[in-house]
């Protein structure tokens, strides 16, 4: 057992997979010599050399196109898109090419690749460097979507993503990079598509993802302490595949469910999950399904404004209390 930051977990996860499999290569902007602009990939160039760890031009379409072409022909590339906001400059390669090729070719083409990216707000970077866009990916058939909330999960889910035969978009919460957590020694491999109940609670259910998981847990503690409400907290971990079974089981127990999303309000993963529950979980519902999200606005840069925009522990607590009788 070691204490690692979420940031350190990234390099350990990539190294674990590159040591295991020579066909795993890693490319992106400033990922090698500089060790990444978030310093999350430090040491990889030194260990694996410039043949396997490649610094690229500022050409996201070329970076992901190269990853796709390499994945079609025997490699298992890991590509970095520095900030997930930049998916917008290479969305065609992601949504029209990578996501659709296996299907269009009637299964001829496998694309075992992972695209990892720093996602979300909290660093006062403003509207073009702070977006949570995991829902952009969730809306496109053919992409698996993963977003870990802890260093241990990051390593285990990343390893599973690299070993998965399908393309995986791996969203790292940039606000969690400095956060420490217990990490078991040795190889860690998790399974994709499984949510985790990170807190048991029989009164209400709170479903969260990535950066919102610590906030949901803090809110649950506060609800228990000050309001006598025992909230179960589900860490979704994966959006595609979506672990509906785990969520339905919690809902069956509590009858009340809240989602906590970092992305702007419309068409987020919360909307999808709530819609699934409004159909398959209807008979379990004791009250409205409620989404707690960032308002449907671009993120402001000023610290005070950004803090007010993102879902806070206080807002989660208040919303749950207001809606629980």
């Amino acid at each position: 057992m070691a204490q690692l930051t979420y940031r350190e977990a990234v390099a350990r996860a990539i190294a674990q997979e590159m040591r295991r499999d020579e066909s795993v290569v890693f490319l992106g902007e400033d990922v090698g010599a500089a060790g990444g602009v978030f310093k999350a990939t430090a040491g990889l160039l030194e260990e694996f050399g410039p043949r396997r760890v490649r610094d690229t031009p500022i050409s996201e379409q070329a970076v992901l196109g190269a990853a796709m072409g390499a994945a079609m022909t025997g490699l298992r590339p890991i590509a970095e898109i520095m900030f997930s906001d930049f998916f917008a400059v290479c969305w065609d390669i992601v949504a029209n090419e990578i996501a659709k090729t296996r299907y269009m070719t009637n299964g001829q083409v496998s694309l075992p690749l992972v695209i990892r990216s720093a996602n979300g707000g909290g660093l006062r970077f403003g509207a073009q460097h702070s977006q949570a866009v995991e829902n952009w990916a969730m809306a496109v058939p053919g992409l698996k979507v993963v977003a870990p909330s802890s260093p241990a999960d990051l390593i285990g889910l990343f390893a599973a993503a690299v070993r998965d035969p399908d393309p995986v978009l791996f969203f790292e919460a940039k606000s969690l990079y400095p956060v420490r957590g217990e990490v078991p020694d040795g190889e860690i491999v998790e399974e994709l598509g499984r949510a985790k109940v990170v807190r048991a609670g029989a009164d209400v259910t709170i479903v969260a993802l990535a950066s919102m998981v610590p906030r949901a847990l803090a809110a649950a503690a506060e609800l228990s302490r000050t309001h006598g409400i025992e909230a179960g907290v589900v860490d979704l971990r994966s959006l595609v595949a979506l672990d509906v079974t785990t969520v339905l089981a919690e809902l069956a127990m509590t009858g009340r469910l809240f989602t906590v999303e970092e992305n702007p309000r419309l068409c987020g993963w919360g909307a999808e999950l709530v819609s699934v529950l409004a159909e398959d979980g209807f008979t379990s519902l004791d009250g409205p399904l409620i989404r707690i999200t960032t308002p449907h606005v671009p993120l402001p840069a000023a610290d005070s404004l950004e803090d007010a925009a993102l879902p806070t522990v206080a807002r989660i607590v208040e919303t749950v209390v207001k809606n629980t009788d």
Partner: protein, 335 residues
């Protein structure tokens, strides 16, 4: 059908007959595809390269069996050039179960991995970086394979072109970018919306590459240019950008009567049809009329058989709609 460029030099009779055979087969296949639209048997859209056969043949014959082809929606001839049989091509256009992708891809996405036909891409420019990626993989694996990427004149103005060319040059990748300059994008003359006269060749220097322009209606010249670029790539000297000057005899797609083209221009290019010219050259070079006639007859028979087989193909099973999104064969996104 594909032999390494070193075994051949342009002008050897064997190569020339291979080039002619390929052009005849491409012409025959696409004329038939056109007839099948008219009969309403091909749904959706389809983009023919009638008139551009010399480019596909010249490269197809020069490429090695394990090289990679990346084409656009205008990819029937390039698919045939890699050795893909006619039946699955026509059947795919007709949306049949015996189609190359069982009807799931359609005319714009012909793909046959076993033949090195790595896909036909319908978003302009997207496949250039993907081809660079396949070349990177070949370089990494040390296989001496080359990726050849075909695209049009209009595609030279989209961002992905620029990013792919720069990356390929910087990493010295074994990839050949081939611009089939057929004068038009869809209905607009590319010269009207491009800052330079040669949309590809005049950009080569921006990537530290030599400008290469070739007569895209002359299979021998294309074959030579292809061989040179492929050798350069295999020698580790990096990418090439080849601009082949050609013309499509018909419209952009089935929907297009191509009224926007001046009659003289069309007439001039029809006079430079790559097939009759090449046939004449072969005869002048000593080829027997009987040999050429046999090639033509064989091709016609192949087209007729493929047409019959494609027409006989059943419709794809509807279960295919929810198959092969994932490697497990399924499409499930939840448990």
């Amino acid at each position: 059908m594909t032999t390494t460029s070193t075994e051949n030099t342009a002008g050897t009779q064997r190569t020339r007959l291979a080039l002619y055979r390929q052009m005849v087969r491409m012409r025959g296949l696409e004329k038939r595809a056109y007839d099948l639209f008219v009969q309403g048997l091909v749904k959706g859209t389809s983009h023919l390269s009638l008139g551009q056969e010399a480019v596909a043949a010249g490269f197809g014959v020069a490429m090695r069996a394990d090289d990679y082809t990346f084409a656009t929606y205008r990819g029937h001839a390039h698919t045939l050039a890699r050795g893909v049989p006619m039946t699955p091509i026509l059947a795919e256009l007709m949306g049949r179960a015996n189609g190359l992708m069982a009807g799931k891809g359609g005319s714009m996405h012909l793909t046959s991995i076993p033949h090195g036909m790595m896909g036909s891409y319908a978003i302009v420019g997207a496949h250039l970086p993907i081809a660079a990626g396949a070349a990177w993989s070949a370089q990494y694996r040390g296989t001496q394979q080359v990726a050849v990427c075909f695209f049009g004149d209009g595609a030279t103005n989209i961002g992905a072109f620029h990013e792919a060319l720069n990356l390929a040059a910087v990493w010295s990748l074994p990839v050949v970018f081939v611009c089939e300059n057929n004068v038009y994008m869809e209905y607009t003359r590319t010269s009207e919306i491009t800052a330079v006269p040669r949309p590809a060749a005049d950009r080569a220097a921006a990537y530290g590459l030599p400008p290469v322009v070739v007569d895209g209606n002359d299979a021998d010249r294309v074959y030579e240019a292809a061989s040179a670029a492929l050798d350069r790539a295999r020698a580790g000297e990096g990418p090439s950008l080849v601009e082949a000057l050609t013309y499509r005899h018909g419209g952009h797609s089935r929907a297009d009567p191509a009224k926007y083209r001046p009659a003289e221009e069309v007439a001039e290019w029809l006079a430079r049809d790559p097939l009759p010219a090449y046939r004449a050259r072969l005869l002048a070079g000593g080829a027997a009329e009987t040999v050429l006639a046999a090639i033509e007859a064989e091709s016609q028979a192949e087209v007729d058989l493929a047409t019959a087989e494609a027409k006989a193909g059943p419709l794809p099973g509807l279960e295919l709609v929810e198959q092969d999104v994932w490697a497990d064969g399924g499409a499930s996104w939840r448990n």
